[in-house]
């Protein structure tokens, strides 16, 4: 298998597509591409970019991916300007089957099920990779942001699969304004879609989830009123007022997503201790008008649930990226498998600009992959999907490092 990556950050979208595809072919020494993964920023004209890619690799090569806030490769990392990136894979044997569906807004569950059915998952398939449109309804005119939920999508996929298999992937966002996104659906550029790929038997995906959140104070709060992705009350009092007291001001409400604070759901036994990897975090994407409630990235916290305030710890975040990537690559090496290529799906809230860190957490991933000589294509997403505590889940403020290995 040959793999090459390309990166561009220029305003001419078609030229950008031509450049990244050309670089990828050149770096990988690729003559007959089998698959392309590509991501482009919201400021990029996705159709022109797609044409640029096609002008290099031709019409027969499936292209999957879509919008991203930023792009990461072995040597580049950018979420400003017009970042675009691509990875081209040449394989002697087919290793992926691709399908897409465009009726995501109607029902995430149904879309997931249809997607899985189209993919026709086989018993020896290793995993399913999915990229979907995170934005159901952009915010505007006093209307809150509405997101396509990962939980029903995953549930739909699981329903559609005759054989259960791990699901990896991302909810795509194009910018921090939560504007509409696009998806590269193999043969075309789609919107409001989900594109999936089944990884065949020849490839074994290995992964790590990087974290970086710690409980603020360890206190459990009961959700006393919630609807969809909005929490109105905690412990019987307005959630916004409670958070105001924590910050000591209302300034935090200006940031979207909210700085530092997330909502954590502990998946272990209550009071059994604090284990970072046992928390599922939800970013607070903003505050409802008139401070009526807080909006989360996923609508999966219901009334009656017990949650904790979590604090995003930048040092822990970077350390988590460093240790998890190093451990994973060491594990792959010790297993005797070959790291073919890696995908890093990184929460857009983890960028240095939004985490208020001096360094980039994803730079730790680059270092580990470069040390291993493994081609890397990463991007900044809204939701990361990975098996977590024996179940495929949508995650927030995590980084999913997925390394495809071969024997």
């Amino acid at each position: 298998m040959k793999v090459g990556t390309g990166f561009s950050n220029q305003g001419d979208s078609r030229e950008s597509g031509r450049l990244v595809a050309g670089q990828a072919l050149l770096k990988g020494g690729i003559e007959e591409p089998s698959l392309m993964l590509a991501f482009c920023s919201g400021r990029t004209d996705a159709h022109a970019f797609f044409q640029g890619l096609r002008s290099v690799v031709g019409d027969a090569v499936p292209i999957i991916g879509g919008s991203a806030i930023g792009v990461i490769t072995n040597s580049e990392l950018s979420y400003s300007g017009h970042p675009c990136g691509a990875m081209v894979v040449q394989s002697d044997r087919p290793f992926l089957r691709i399908a897409s569906c465009s009726d995501l807004p109607e029902s995430e569950h149904q879309a997931g099920r249809l997607l899985a059915e189209k993919l026709n998952v086989q018993p020896d398939d290793q995993a399913l990779l999915v990229f979907y449109d995170s934005i159901k309804q952009p915010p505007g005119d006093g209307r809150p942001l509405e997101l396509n939920a990962s939980a029903p999508l995953i549930a739909g996929i699981e329903t559609g699969c005759a054989n259960p298999l791990p699901v990896f992937g991302a909810g795509l966002i194009a910018d921090y304004g939560f504007n509409p996104t696009i998806q590269f659906c193999g043969s075309h550029v789609g919107t409001r879609s989900a594109v999936g790929a089944v990884i065949g038997a020849d490839i074994t995906p290995c992964y790590r989830i990087t974290h970086g959140c710690t409980p603020l104070d360890g206190i459990y709060h009961r959700v006393t009123r919630a609807e969809g992705a909005v929490i109105y009350e905690l412990d019987g009092e307005p959630a916004v007022g409670m958070i105001n007291r924590l910050y000591g001001s209302r300034e935090w409400q200006k940031a979207t997503p909210v700085d530092l604070l997330t909502i954590g759901i502990y998946q272990g036994e209550k009071y059994s201790g604090v284990k970072e990897s046992s928390y599922v975090n939800r970013l607070i994407t903003g505050v409802l008008p008139e401070s009526k409630g807080i909006c989360l990235f996923e609508p999966d916290i219901e009334t009656g649930a017990e949650v904790q305030f979590m604090i995003r710890d930048s040092l822990k975040m970077i350390e988590s990226a460093r240790s998890n990537s190093a451990d994973l690559m060491a594990e792959i090496e010790s297993s005797g498998r070959q790291a073919l290529f890696a995908i890093y799906i990184d929460c857009a809230g983890r960028t240095a600009a939004y985490s208020k860190t001096a360094g980039e957490e994803a730079a730790e991933i680059q270092k580990a992959l470069n040390r291993a000589g493994c081609p890397l294509l990463g991007f900044y997403s809204g939701v990361e999907i990975a098996p977590f505590l024996n179940k495929s889940r949508g995650l927030d403020w995590t980084g999913l490092l997925l390394v495809m290995t071969g024997s």
Binding site: L216, D217, I219, L246, Y247, L260, D313, S355, K356
Partner: protein, 568 residues
């Protein structure tokens, strides 16, 4: 085991107390946790604010650096930083000026290698002095060689700066090639103007001296020719007189040279093809210079030029003599003629009028000359020959003659490489050349009446005597007004007027016009050796009857008179 009611109540109360205490402790620790969490969050929030501010400053710094870099990289002024004689920074303008990539410049083992070898030492000296803080010109020019060996001029301004903790020189480069070239052209034009002014001044000076000499020699020659005419060749003094006449004629040639240089000698131009003249003069020259091989490369379709053959002959002989002196042990003399458009002429040295030219090239294989000598060779009295061998008027005369023909002269030479003179004459193509006629030299007696006009009493006297000797009845006039008066009285008696052109008061030109007004068929022979007004050629071109150059002998006077009278 059963508890007594009192014991049970006591235990219950104790449990309740312990539970309350546990509740209080939980509340206490919850409050602590809350406060710790808040404190942690607020500190983190504050810290993240500071980090955000720092990132913002970094971002602005990056943008500022980006703008600065953009300015530096897009500046059309070259910037180069050198540390320890190594180039540590160069912008695109420098690279473009030197036709190198920035990487090539930075990695060059000899960072001063782009400087012209002749300028390298001084540039390095300035550089080292500037590093030491010694006085050195802030701005200076030097030559550089591009990658393609193209010579360019750059003006550099250097300042001492700190470069990452090291003393460095920041050099600003401006491509000064065009400016230097313009200055060189300006300088050359100024030199040409100075030379032209000098030549004009020297010409006026030389012309004045020549005029005076000429008049005196005219008188002497007239007397001598008359004495010789009346002296029997067997007389013991005849030989001495003949030699004296020869010396006077030699002196006359000298003044002729001076007049040629001064361009005040009137030219008798006519359409000629230079090839014939060049052939004739070169044959004459070859006969007396056997050790010099003359090669002719004459264009068969050479254009005609308007020229005075005697003057061109004079110029050619001067050039040949010059070539001969440059080849004391013999050599090659190449004579070439060709038609040349003005665009092909060396425009850097002069700006020829548009049109076609005939080029006459005289190239010798002699010792050549230095640039300094070349710069002065057309100056009158400048000579490189040993004392007594050269007058320093030969090439000055050539210069004057060519200029007098509205032509141009160029010289190319290097020590040991020979010398090539290129003469350019405006070409005419519509007039057929005129064949030269033989001039009668014998003295023939005539009869008639003649008015002779000259303000120089010696010339007037000798001219009158010679005319009388030829058989004329002579009416002398010492001024223009006197001549008009005499002519008015004797207009119909006079067969001829011998008129000097240069006179104070009423000049020859005005006298000529009055005479022609009174008697249009009057025969007027103009006589002069000098025309300060430069208008004699104009008079001669107005269908004047004839011209006699002073000084003249009795025989020459006789011949010219005969020629006029025969015209009828």
């Amino acid at each position: 085991m059963q508890f007594k009611p009192s014991a049970q109540a006591a235990a219950s109360a104790d449990l309740a107390r312990q539970l309350e205490q546990a509740r209080q402790e939980a509340a206490y620790y919850r409050d602590i946790a809350k406060e710790t969490g808040r404190s942690h969050l607020r500190n983190m929030y504050q810290l993240s604010g500071l980090v955000a501010e720092l990132r913002d400053i970094e971002q602005r710094l990056r943008e500022s650096e980006g703008r600065y870099r953009s300015v530096v990289e897009n500046l059309n002024v070259g910037m180069m930083v050198t540390v320890d004689q190594k180039i540590v920074f160069a912008n695109a303008a420098v690279a473009t000026a030197l036709d190198q990539s920035i990487a090539e410049m930075m990695s060059n083992a000899d960072p001063f290698g782009y400087i012209h070898p002749e300028d390298r030492a001084i540039v390095l000296e300035h550089h080292l002095k500037r590093i030491k803080g010694e006085a050195v010109p802030e701005t200076y020019c030097f030559r550089v060689l591009t990658k393609r060996a193209e010579l360019r001029w750059v003006e550099v301004t250097g300042v001492r700066i700190d470069w990452r903790g090291q003393l460095a020189i920041l050099n600003f480069f401006v491509d000064a090639t065009e400016r230097v070239r313009s200055q060189e052209i300006q300088k050359r034009l100024e030199q040409q103007l100075v030379r032209a002014n000098k030549m004009e001044a020297l010409g006026a000076f030389a012309g004045g001296i020549a005029h005076d000499f000429n008049n005196r020699m005219a008188a002497v020659l007239a007397y001598l020719s008359m004495v010789l005419h009346e002296t029997d060749p067997s007389h013991p003094h005849y030989e001495y007189l003949a030699r004296a006449e020869k010396q006077i004629r030699g002196g006359s040639k000298l003044t002729s040279q001076l007049l040629g240089y001064a361009r005040n000698k009137p030219y008798q131009v006519k359409p000629i093809v230079l090839n014939k003249l060049v052939t004739e003069v070169s044959e004459t020259f070859s006969q007396t210079h056997k050790n010099i091989h003359v090669h002719l490369n004459l264009h068969p379709g050479l254009c005609t030029v308007n020229a005075d053959p005697s003057q061109i002959e004079q110029a050619l002989l001067n050039l040949f003599v010059n070539a001969s002196d440059a080849m004391p042990n013999g050599g090659e003399l190449q004579l070439t003629t060709r038609n040349t458009p003005h665009a092909a002429m060396p425009s850097g040295k002069f700006q020829p009028e548009p049109g076609n030219y005939v080029e006459l090239q005289v190239a010798d294989s002699g010792v050549g000359m230095s640039a300094e000598t070349m710069d002065r060779i057309f100056d009158p009295f400048f000579t490189t020959k040993e004392l007594g061998r050269g007058t320093g008027l030969g090439l000055a005369s050539v210069f004057g003659i060519i200029k007098g023909h509205s032509g141009y002269i160029d010289v190319a030479s290097q020590p040991g490489q020979g010398t090539t003179f290129s003469l350019y004459f405006p070409a005419i193509i519509h007039q057929a050349p005129v064949e030269p006629q033989e001039v009668q030299r014998e003295i023939t007696a005539v009869k008639g009446s003649v008015l002779v006009v000259d303000d120089e009493h010696r010339v007037l006297e000798t001219s009158a005597r010679m005319l009388a000797k030829l058989g004329f009845t002579v009416h002398p006039a010492g001024s223009g007004r006197e001549a008009i008066e005499i002519f008015r009285q004797k207009a119909h008696e006079l067969d001829l007027v011998l008129l000097d052109m240069v006179m104070p008061g009423m000049g020859g030109e005005e006298v000529y016009r009055h005479i022609k007004e009174m008697r249009p068929d009057a025969r007027v022979l103009i006589s002069s050796g000098f025309d300060s007004s430069g208008r004699m050629t104009e008079v001669l071109n107005q269908n004047c009857d004839g011209f006699l150059c002073k000084p003249f002998s009795l025989a020459e006077l006789s011949a010219k008179v005969q020629e006029l009278l025969q015209k009828g």
